[in-house]
Subunit: 190 residues, 2 copies
């Protein structure tokens, strides 16, 4: 690969679905900020977008970041601030896509993730090759029970579900992001 990969991650809090398949908005959690930012920083992700339409949730997220980037957390654990500095908070997916396009000056390949098989999938190996040629990619992850149907209508392709033995498919979104980033951007002795 020539230079740093152009990969962003977006964690979508709305629109997502609940256990019954109803479209909802979920709450931002402190741990999703921390764990996913640390994985993003490890694997060379450029920006980690937190998407929520709820203004109070965006304010809460900004307060948490403030603690680690400028407050006591900055000196207590500078490694954490280094990861959390990747976060940008925005109101909806369109705002994130516009931001990514402006940053890289070209069209961004928006790729969704889903715990269930979908028809429009792209293999991990193929997307990895595209990333290594420098194509800008925005990876979407859904909180709660996953991205809402209207999100899938906006994206070009979806990565296949992460599978192990058996049929249990209830990984945390933190685990899912970590595994997807490793598959697409991991290096070293596998």
């Amino acid at each position: 690969m020539t230079g740093k990969p152009c990969v962003d991650v977006a964690l979508v809090h709305a629109p997502v679905v609940n256990r019954k398949g109803e479209v909802i908005g979920s709450a931002v959690t402190n741990l999703d900020l921390h764990d996913i930012a640390r994985a993003c920083r490890t694997f060379g992700v450029d920006t980690y977008w937190i998407i929520t339409p709820f203004a109070r949730q965006r304010e809460l997220s900004a307060e948490i970041l403030e603690h680690w980037l400028a407050g006591h957390g900055r000196t207590a654990n500078p490694d954490r601030g280094e990861a959390l500095s990747l976060i940008r908070i925005c109101a909806d997916l369109d705002e994130a896509v516009t931001g990514v396009r402006a940053k890289w000056g070209k069209t961004v390949h928006v790729v969704a993730t889903c715990a269930r098989p979908r028809p429009d999938t792209i293999a991990y190996a193929r997307l990895r090759r595209q990333i290594h040629t420098g194509r800008p990619v925005l990876l979407l992850f859904g909180t709660a029970w996953g991205l809402a149907p209207e999100v899938f209508e906006k994206v070009q392709v979806t990565l296949p579900p992460i599978c192990g033995a058996g049929t249990y498919n209830h990984l945390s979104v933190r685990s899912a992001v970590s595994i997807v980033l490793d598959r697409l951007l991991g290096i070293g002795d596998l």
Copy 2:
């Protein structure tokens, strides 16, 4: 592979090291129980051992499990109980190793993990092949800043650090477990 893999995961809360390299005991966290159990269940891990020498911490862990396995959580979210049912709580590593050996009736291959390179490493691909031949494996993960030196003295080999671009190596233990299990036990279209 013939049959289910014989792989267990142990999350060690003591002895581990803190930021300064001092040997300490860390606190059990609710999220380590949930996220790691869900990853274990996804990838076919047989038992997820929670190791802590602190009796009150073992009691707390048991109370959390009780909620999801027999209390309100059992009906509210049965998927969660299915994952958490893999957990066994014990006081030290020897107790876990004895339990694994008794369960499978043969010697267990104890494999540590570390965020820093170590001389005694085994490649992921090699350990994956061993697992697929049915060799019982116990994977050790350290909380806080990682497993203490006395743990490494007891194990045969260590998996290489998980690396992305750059030198940041502060993944959460939840991310590390998820990635390691995917590398060793993941299946499907990569």
